[in-house]
């Protein structure tokens, strides 16, 4: 066993402390401004109801789903070479989803009311209702699977059934999440029946980025400290999968962009031309956050290098976060029935409070992750695979 998880040591403790401090500060700041000013502390408004907190939630929820899908490779489909990352993937999926939900909770007008009004009113027509159902199911399956794995139960019948259930929950949750946007015909920038596929691809991409990053983090950014199966995975299937998924993501962005720019419908082409492509941040995130990683991962010599992998993971973090942000905001920047009251695309940039929520979510994720590394053995594998 060459597992030398540096997070169990002093460095992990220091990082944990740092994460807790960031968490407390960001949560405290966000809570105080929401308590004192309400959602006036956001830069969202009646014209742009969904802003960066929703994008952050979306980012986290999809990263979680992506991790769930990656975990299904060994657990459901028998790609055994992925066993070395599966427990960490399931754990990360769980805590990232928790972090995302925490951000969403701070964004809603009445979060606690949600707990009873949704189940008591059973509005099955609403995709938002199903989002609740599927992500709760997802969360429960993840927890259950985690508990099974932690107990060393890798391949009992129940454990396998849980894995299948978890995979289905992930597919339904993220696919449905896509439809929350994709079914909105009144928001043509989003309206797209294939949006779930795009969400699956980008989910896996962001899941892989998280997985690579946190795997390296737990091994002190050193390949040598990894177990042999993990090293094999990092030298083989995982970077290939990463490259393929990034390619698919690019393809999807390209076809959406091409149809978007091609159409005469101003509610679509204006978003692409005057909002997305007009933004240096979006351009940077597209070229540096998605295309560059794809190019790097295409190269056989580069993609297996730890440095490349870590760089790609970080770039993809940023690239996909921007992708989520511009996706969410882009669907709303064309004013709906505002006449001269809104004479341009609606301007939106997140407020300090909204940034605090993004930081809070990230800090919560790090905190939970580091606690997990300390308490659990996230590098565990089925005995047969060792």
């Amino acid at each position: 066993m060459s597992n030398e998880n540096v997070m169990k040591g002093a460095m992990g403790t220091q990082l944990l402390l740092l994460s807790v401090v960031v968490l407390v500060i960001s949560f405290g700041f966000a809570m105080m401004s929401i308590m004192s000013q309400g959602h006036a502390s956001f830069n969202t408004n009646s014209n742009i109801p969904w802003g960066q907190p929703i994008a952050t939630y979306l980012y986290f929820a999809l990263a979680s789903s992506g991790l769930g899908m990656i975990a299904a490779l060994p657990l459901v489909f028998g790609f055994k070479q992925f066993y070395p990352i599966v427990k960490r993937a399931i754990f990360l999926a769980f805590i990232i989803l928790i972090s995302g939900m925490a951000v969403l909770a701070m964004e809603l007008g009445h979060v606690f009311r949600m707990l009873w009004v949704i189940p008591f009113n059973m509005q099955i027509q609403s995709a938002m209702f199903w989002m609740g159902v599927f992500y709760v199911a997802d969360l429960l399956f993840l927890l259950w699977k985690m508990q099974k794995m932690d107990a060393g139960d890798w391949d009992s019948k129940t454990s396998k059934q849980i894995a299948i259930g978890s995979f289905l929950a992930v597919l339904l949750a993220s696919g449905n999440l896509a439809l929350i946007f994709g079914m909105m015909s009144m928001r043509p920038f989003w309206f797209d029946g294939l949006l779930p596929i795009y969400f699956y691809l980008t989910a896996v991409a962001s899941g892989l980025a998280a997985l690579v990053f946190f795997t390296y983090l737990s091994h002190g950014f050193s390949r040598n400290k990894m177990s042999q199966p993990l090293q094999d995975l990092m030298n083989g299937a995982l970077p290939k999968l990463f490259a393929a998924v990034l390619g698919g993501t690019l393809l999807f962005i390209a076809v959406r962009a091409i149809t978007g720019v091609y159409t005469n419908n101003p509610e679509i082409y204006l978003v692409w031309r005057d909002y997305l492509f007009a933004s240096p941040v979006y351009q940077a995130s597209l070229w540096l956050g998605i295309l560059l990683p794809f190019v790097l991962m295409l190269s056989k010599s580069l993609r297996n290098q730890p440095g490349t992998q870590m760089l790609v993971a970080v770039l993809v973090f940023g690239g996909l976060f921007a992708e989520r942000f511009y996706f969410v905001v882009g669907g709303q920047v064309v004013p709906l029935f505002k006449g001269t009251w809104e004479w341009d695309l609606i301007q939106y940039s997140p407020s300090a409070t909204e940034w605090a929520l993004t930081f809070m979510g990230s800090a919560l994720l790090f905190t939970l992750y580091l606690l997990g590394e300390k308490v659990l053995n996230l590098s565990a594998m089925p005995p047969a695979q060792k």
Binding site: N45, S46, P49, M114, A127, P266, F337, T340
Partner: protein
């Protein structure tokens, strides 16, 4: 039960915004929270330019997409209230999905940055759970239908002045403000409309004046392609709303 409908004759509307301010004061909305708004458009240039305008209440759609997306049934279409779409402020969780799903942009989340400083909400701070409590607020209040001043964290919208309309004698085909016996039951925007560009009546009653006007003057519904089937009809030239185009910067 009647199916309440509104007819807006753009050939008579003068774009004065009395509907907007009557609504704002009747329903105590904040500046910018224009449940009823008038939208202005201009095209072309001197000396042959055109300018037009469009009053825009909630369309109270027959097939309201906002209702379909609400995860809590907080927003609902009340067939016992003439098909008005309400928000139950006791159920709304402030997810704002309905605002995303409304093709007409008629829903408001007033828990936002104030349009004008100083903030009216600081000058008339909220009492008894209200977002703000203006001294001139309407005594009518029914949170299950989104009537009155809303609490924080919920979506608000036009109620077709349900607190007035609901008190009309049953079976009234048209709520005509010129009839002194009915004027108190007429929605604020219709009641005050000086050129009488707005009409309010029962779309289920073939004898109602609103149906006659829709028939005679070829009433149209905004963005009919949305499939939402508004219960608000427009008459006359000008119902063609130009698509959004950003204004030239330089």
């Amino acid at each position: 039960m009647a199916k309440w409908g509104m007819v807006i004759d753009l050939d008579k509307c003068t774009g004065c915004q009395a509907c907007t301010t009557a609504c704002a004061m009747e329903n105590n909305t904040l500046p910018g929270e224009s449940w009823q708004d008038v939208l202005y458009y201009h095209e072309g240039s001197y000396p042959s330019a055109q300018m037009k305008w469009l009053p825009r209440p909630c369309m109270q759609c027959e097939n309201p997409s906002c209702v379909h997306v609400c995860p809590t049934r907080a927003t609902y279409k009340d067939m016992d209230a003439g098909g008005i779409v309400f928000v139950d402020w006791n159920k709304c969780i402030g997810c704002k999905y309905c605002m995303i799903a409304c093709p007409y942009g008629v829903r408001f989340y007033a828990d936002e940055k104030p349009l004008l400083e100083p903030d009216l909400r600081d000058i008339f701070p909220g009492q008894k759970g209200q977002l703000w409590s203006p001294p001139y607020q309407n005594p009518e209040e029914d949170w299950t239908r989104g009537i009155g001043v809303q609490p924080k964290g919920v979506v608000s919208k036009c109620t077709f002045c349900h607190h007035k309309v609901s008190k009309a004698p049953p079976g009234t085909p048209d709520l005509d403000e010129d009839n002194p016996a009915l004027k108190e039951y007429v929605p604020a925007c219709v009641r005050t409309c000086a050129p009488k560009a707005r009409y309010f009546g029962d779309l289920d009653n073939p004898d109602s004046n609103v149906n006659r006007l829709i028939g005679d003057k070829h009433g149209v519904r905004l963005k009919d392609s949305s499939g939402n089937k508004p219960q608000v009809y427009y008459l006359g030239a000008g119902a063609g709303v130009p698509a959004f185009q950003p204004k030239p910067r330089s």
